[in-house]
């Protein structure tokens, strides 16, 4: 188990080197998929390697000649990485410009400064009623598939797409199992290790990641963990598109809280819902995209209340509180948050919001907020 965790930490500590080496090792092209909803299975079925684009590992410098400081961390660092040539191992890039406005920054910037061999723009629609939305979504997925076929010069058969979906579904099942075991033995993995595990799935070839997860699960099932009863369980919510700074996860645990489950993108949201293969694989992908839960504030869902969903999740995990992680300049989360907060207050659920910026000046403020939250939960 330690060996697997070491490997996962290695992949995520330097994704640039890992993905570049992966490309060389597998002799396959890399397609960067900007989070959160690109159906990677179609890229995989085209015999290419999809990787989910990540928040960069250094302060933004050149990027600010292209995007303003009031774009979110992953938008700015991705542009920064791309224009500096740090992502030159990516042969192509895919953007869903309807997720939030900031994704719309990329196509022209990439065209002018990066010139990837392949660039595809998707318009994945929100989950609104009406047959027109469904047809447009299917057309969009079909156009994505065709563009990849044109890029590779090879047809993507239904069988190969089904095979890719199965591999992805297996990965989802395995990650689900990791979370299940963590729920049973909450301190078996540190919160940062769980996030790294999900993140590594976004960076590795899924077949390889599945093997790694099987090893990890074997180790987790065997291992016994002594749980300290006085620790308060909390659910982490939000942090769309990007990883949370691991230091923040460590602070949460150092303050005596434990995380049995989460509602984060680089977390349970990434592997939630399998693509149900009952017929046409494109329909299966469209169904998965249109699943209303876990609620994504970027997808226009009206009839599900995010806060109610989280309260349910909290109760299922016997958790005492919720930590909302809001990425600075993330409009979908920011617009939703006041209603989320009101519901938490109305239901007497202890909740605290921490704001995450790419450039951390000091963690002291975050620590103080979390400390007083931990004290509230433990009744100090």
């Amino acid at each position: 188990m330690e060996e697997v965790l070491r490997k996962i930490a290695e992949v995520t500590s330097d994704p640039y080197t890992y993905v570049a080496e992966l490309k060389a090792r597998k002799n396959k092209k890399i397609i960067g998929c900007f989070p959160m909803h690109i159906p990677e299975e179609i890229v995989h079925a085209a015999d290419l390697i999809p990787v989910v684009i990540w928040r960069g590992n250094e302060s933004v410098t050149w990027g600010h000649a292209h995007v303003p400081a009031y774009d979110c961390g992953i938008t700015r660092t991705f542009v920064d990485d791309a224009v500096k040539g740090k992502l030159s191992f990516m042969d192509g890039m895919v953007f869903n410009v309807r997720q939030c406005l900031q994704v719309g920054e990329f196509p022209l910037i990439m065209d002018r400064n990066v010139k990837p061999a392949y660039q595809k723009i998707l318009y994945l629609p929100p989950i609104y009623q009406g047959e027109a939305v469904r047809s447009f979504l299917l057309e969009d997925l079909e156009s994505f598939k065709t563009s990849l076929e044109d890029f590779t010069g090879k047809k993507i058969s239904d069988d190969s797409l089904k095979r890719s979906i199965e591999i992805y579904n297996e990965n989802r099942s395995l990650l689900e199992r990791v979370y299940e075991i963590r729920r049973e033995k909450p301190e078996i993995l540190k919160a940062r290790e769980v996030m790294q595990t999900v993140w590594s799935s976004m960076l590795m070839l899924k077949e390889d990641h599945n093997e790694l997860l099987k090893e990890l699960i074997k180790g987790m099932e065997k291992k016994t963990v002594e749980t300290k009863g006085d620790r308060s369980k909390v659910i982490l919510v939000g942090c769309l598109c990007q990883t949370l700074q691991f230091d923040i996860l460590d602070i949460i645990e150092d303050l005596g809280m434990i995380v049995p489950d989460d509602d984060l993108y680089v977390g349970s949201r990434y592997f939630a819902n399998k693509a149900q293969l009952n017929g046409n694989p494109m329909d299966a992908l469209a169904d998965r995209y249109q699943a209303k839960t876990p609620l994504c504030p970027a997808k226009g869902v009206w009839d599900v209340d995010w806060a109610e969903e989280v309260i349910k999740q909290m109760k299922d995990n016997d958790a005492k509180g919720v930590i909302s992680v809001r990425v600075k300049y993330c409009p979908p989360h920011t617009c939703y948050y006041p209603d989320f907060k009101s519901k938490m207050m109305a239901e007497d659920v202890p909740e605290v919001m921490i704001e995450m910026e790419h450039e951390i000046v000091s963690l002291e403020g975050t620590k103080t907020r979390l400390q007083s939250f931990a004290e509230t939960l433990s009744g100090v």
């Binding site: 292209h66 303003p68 719309g104 022209l108 400064n113 027109a132 939703y336 907060k341």
Partner: protein, 423 residues
Amino acid sequence: MSVKYKVNRLATTNDIRPMVDRHWANLRAAKERGEKVAWASGPTFLFPYAMGMKSHFMAGYAAYCGGIGAADEVLKVAEATGDLPETCSYHRLHMGMAEAVRKGIPVNPAAILPMPDIMISGRFCPEMAHYAEGLYRRMGVPVIAVELPSAYEKEDVPRVKKFVYRQFKEVVIPAFEKVCGKPFDYDRLSEIFSVLKKAATLRNECWEFFKTKPSTWTLWDYGVSIAPVFYMMGDPESIVYYEKLLKELQDRKEKGIPAIAPEGEKYRLYWDGWIPWAFLGKFMRKFTPNGAVCICGRYPWEFFPHPERLDPERPLETFVDSFWGEESPRCFSNKAPKGCVELIGEFIEEYSIDGMIMFSSKSCRIWNLSQPDMMDALYKRYGVPGVVIEADMVDPAMISDSQIDTRLEALIETIDGGRRGRA
């Protein structure tokens, strides 16, 4: 500075305030009479209008609120009731106004609108849907939601157009028929387009005066004149307004009266992005002493720039064509960065532009996308320099005088440097 510049104010634009006051008062009066009223984002207010229902328009309300100086207090209500300061200021204005109504918080009565019986959320940008979602959660207002994407690639225009048309036909129209209990009134929609066609044709004649040197009016004059060709469309007063404006501009040309005295502009500027509704005076006070006049911009040119192509006999089709059509893909050329480079290039040539101001809104990015790259591409192609000014349409907490001053100064120095180099 040897020349003392001064604005020659147009008389016609004085008519706008009473017109828009009346427009919003009519919405309040309709509710008081017990009629159903709608709120709408994107150009979707057309559907309630066609059904004889009074409707608000999201950006129009925000502009009005900013223009009458009420934005600051409404934004403060939003923040006091939970909204975060970095949220889209149009979103916050609506949340603040709704919370003021819900909780009885006193604000400028002119900024208060009746709560809607139905909302139509036209998702031009995600925030236009987020505000409707928020009001649905807080107040339970029923919502008709439609997705209104802009095509980023020209080849995507036909399928995006078809998608938008289908949603209007299959979702929006049946929903309004249900709400109003009567068939959709295509005839009224045709009438609205007939009036709009006349008003926008006159407006285009007014645009011609931006091409004269010196210009007889400023972009700000046109900015305050947008309502008659947009959310007041169909109102016969819109034609009267533009007839009067056209006449005044013709008079000015004949008499040699430029937009700024004594001799007209020294610098002709392109303005990119939203109009800063709450700060029009502030910007004018900065441009005018420098002899700078804003001439054109892609946002104010969004509103039915080709009235000759409007066909009132095919009202729904002509509406969709105007924004999403293959012949005039405004959404591609106005909102998608690649298309914008082409459009702004046309403006530079057509209106003899000396410099560009890229207004970057800190809270709404719909017109900001890839601005630095657009500016660079245009500079390389046309040699026209630009600067970015970061501020907001209505939020006074997001605007800095010193930033405007230094960037405007830098732009003017660069234009002067270029002129000296060419001399």
